[in-house]
Structures are given as C-alpha cells and as structure tokens.
Symmetry: C2
Subunit: 276 residues, 2 copies
C-alpha cells in the first residue's frame, strides 16, 4: 500500500525554530499580505496563513489590493519605506495590469519573502546566502525528510516554473542530486519519472502521475492543489497506487504546511535582516 | 564517421550583428579585462580576445590585477564609476582573497557582462530581459544551429556549475527542451547521456564522454578545454567515436569562437544600455 506523508510535524519543528528567532527580536515581525478580498478562496487562504503566523509569533496583516495598477505600485512603494513593515506578500493572481517583476522591484529585495526580486533570485542562482521561495525550500526539506541525504539521488521535477521548478532544481543541485526538469513539451514523461528515486510534481494537472509513472520505492511530492468535483486533488492519481509501495505527500496537508512554515521562516529572516 | 563543428561561421554572423549595433553608438564600446599578467595562458587568451574584439569594433583593454585584494576591490569601484568604461571582465582564476560575488557587487550590474552580478543572474532566472553568461548563450545557439528548434528535445548537461550548467539549463528550458543536469555525484552518467538528443559537457575531465555514452545521431557540445600531453582536448574521447554517426564540437574551435562572439554581444549591449 502507498504511504502518505503529512507535513504537520516537520512544519511544527520549523515553526519552533522560527519562534525562537522571533523571540530574540525587539518586536514581532510584521508582514502585509495584499489580496483580492472578493476572491473567497484567497481570503480563506490568507486567514489560515494568519493563524499559522500568529502561532509563530508573526503578525500577518491582510490588506486588499488597491483599485488600480498605479495605486498598487504606489502602495508597494509606501510599504517598502514603512519602518513598521518587515515583509510583503502579494497573493496570486496579481491584479490585472500589475507585473510580478515590477511589483518585486517596487517592494525591494529586503522585504521580498517569495524570491521574486532579481537580487534574491540571483543570490540563489549564484550560491550566495539566499532566501529561497518557500515552496521550493519546503520540497527540498520534505525530500530530505523522506529519502535522506539527496547526494546522487535521481530526482525528476514535473513543471519548469520560475517560482517552483527552476529554483527547486538549484536547491537540489546544491544537495548534489541529479535533476531532470520535465514539462508540457516533454516527449515521454513516464520514461523519466519511472527511473526517479523522487518525483516532484507541480504541474497543476489532476491525474497526471499514475502507477505507471513510478517505480517501487519511489517518493512523490505533490505540490499541486487542484479543485476537482470531489474536493482538492493534486497531480497524482492516488487511486491508481493501490497495492504499490510508494510514498506520496498528502494533498493539501503534505507540502502545504511545510511551505507555510518556510514562508514564516523567510519573514522572520527578513525582520532579522532589517534589525541588523 | 563523426562530424565536427567549428564555430567560426556562427561567430562571424553574430559578430556582424554586433558590428552593426556598435556602429550606431557614439563611440566604440570599451571593456577592461583584468588579468594576471604572470599567467602566460591567461595573457595569450586576452590577446586573442582583444583581436576578435577589434574586428567587432570593440576596444578590449587588458590590465593587470592590482597587487592585493583591497586594491582589486578599489580598482573595481573606480571602473564602476568611470564614464569611459562600458564593461569589465575579471579573468579567472581571480586573485587570492577576491570573491566572485564581492567583485561583481563592486562592479555593479550594468558593467557585468559575465552574468555574475545577482541582478543579472536573477533576471535570467526570472525570465526578465537578461544578459546571459556568454558560454551558456553560445551553447544554446550552437544547439539550435546543429539540432534545430529545441522544443521537446532531450538534453543532458554534464556539470552543474553556476556559470555554465545552471544558467544554461534555464536558457534551454526557455526553449522548451527537457533538461537533465548531471555532475560528479551522478550514479550512472551513461544511462542519462545515452538517451539524449544533445549532450553538453563542461566537466573538465578528458575522456569522460566516449562512444558508450552516446546514441546514434546525437549532438555533443564540448565546452571543456583541458591541457593534455598532446595539446588541448575536451571531455569527449574523440578517438572512440570512429565509425559512429554523431556530431561533436571541435576543441578549442567549436564552442570557443561562439562564446567570444556572445561576450562581445554582451559588451555591445552594456554600452548601448549606458547610452540610453
């Protein structure tokens, strides 16, 4: 039978470390979360993040996006200069007319905790001390938790996005794994995933990865959260894994809690960096 | 029989384009090349680059590294502020005590033409308009020259360095290739390279890639220039390819000339950027 990984315990360990860091600061770190208040899913997500943040001693302050792109950019510039604000997250999708890069540049590298500012992405790429995107960091930590040291491990990523797949590839290469990055244009996905010790999928395609894609003993990290007719599902066709000895992260309670913990660690780090 | 690719013709096409860009500028672009004058190989390399640069209408001015790390950093800061200088390359190895990152930061993103400044590496990673490291850019162009559009192509990189392998992976993913990054800790290199349409090796290990590593019809880009008892050799054991139908880049006249052309294009781009 497949075994399922939930991220709560690993997240709790990371949050305990974050709480210790936060306790050493002069005041609780404050992160503004810009969001579309009319998007019920986004608002609910922000409330959950807010609760987790509170447990780690971090103030996460939701705030609606201003009404037009110019006002969003002005607000980001204000937040960049606000001494009381340590970090800002801009929940996706961004408002129409606001580009991810221009938003990150307006905010500045110091308060970017999503790895979206070129200086932060560049530090990661060059091996300088960096604050990796939370999802990528979470995947590395979970892979190590489930499979031990990654040196020499064969890892296949499904999805080459600039916020998950590509920075994650860099983190896994730092750990000396052999990394293959596949995506929608890959000729034969299964030929790659069947040879992998670890498959990490972030494609956003329900049922993409089934029993025929995995070898016995494989570990699968399912980053995707797709809304289906029967609730939330990832990219893995879990029903097909009946009787197979593979380990799969739970959707949404596998990668999700660890990603949140990594985001909180980034916020604490941003606050500590400003206090220097 | 294997067929061998030399980069002169592709380089000439790129240089013609650079000459056109340069002709539109108010004065010839000027790039200072800091080097260890006591290193005969480095000095000879700089003289060759200087000649190529001249043909493209670019002034490449060799200059010895100052005597100690503090003086090197001061000189970089001076060059950063010098209106007459458009770009600076710091030839490797850097003087003892000078870090690649601190040198790039002292120079600033605008005059970095090697993709070593975090802002430039980050722009590449995030998909923003970027000036990729010359070797990586050259490899993408040669791969397209030899194998056509890269979409869906299986490409295996040998070497995960931050100046070749990793930025190159990003450029190849932009072209929708499937990319595997292998290195010294990879368990079974041949199992990967035998499945590849294109192998790009930058490991610096003579004889690493032989007939058993390649399938018929494969294209091999050999970035390495190793000094052996019988002259310069790459990573490919060329003698072993007798009778095989593969295409291999010549060492040193394959990737080399195209890399120089890409560096010159980056210098022209830096000069054009300053003129705006």
């Amino acid at each position: 039978m497949p075994s399922f990984f939930t991220g709560f315990e690993l997240a709790a360990r990371l949050n305990a470390e974050t709480r210790r860091r936060v306790a050493a600061l002069a005041r609780p770190p404050r992160c503004v979360a810009l969001l579309d208040a009319a998007n019920a899913g986004m608002a609910a997500y922000a409330r959950r993040q807010q609760a987790f943040a509170g447990e780690a001693g971090i103030v996460l302050a939701p705030e609606p996006y201003p009404a037009n792109p110019e006002a969003v950019m002005r607000r980001l510039a204000e937040l960049a200069g606000d001494e009381e604000v340590d970090a800002v997250v801009t929940l996706y999708p961004l408002p129409a007319g606001v580009g991810a890069l221009e938003a990150a540049l307006a905010l500045g590298a110091g308060k970017d905790v999503d790895g979206l500012h070129p200086e932060n992405a560049g530090a990661l790429a060059l091996g300088a001390p960096a604050r990796p995107p939370a999802t990528a960091k979470a995947c590395r930590l979970i892979a190590e938790e489930l499979a031990g040291p990654l040196k020499g491990k064969e890892i296949v990523l499904v999805g080459a996005s600039r916020i998950v797949g590509r920075p994650l590839a860099s983190l896994l290469l730092d750990a000396e794994a052999t990394v293959t990055i596949t995506h929608a244009a890959t000729r034969d996905l299964a030929a790659h995933t069947r040879e992998a010790d670890i498959v990490i999928t972030a494609a956003g395609v329900p049922g993409l990865i089934g029993a025929g894609h995995l070898r016995d003993g494989a570990t699968v990290l399912d980053v995707s959260i797709n809304r289906g007719p029967h609730g939330l599902v990832g990219d893995v066709d879990v029903a097909s894994l009946e009787g197979r000895s593979v380990t799969v992260t739970h959707v949404p309670d596998g990668v999700g809690p660890v990603t949140t913990a990594c985001l909180l660690a980034n916020i604490a780090e941003a606050a500590a960096g400003r206090a220097l």
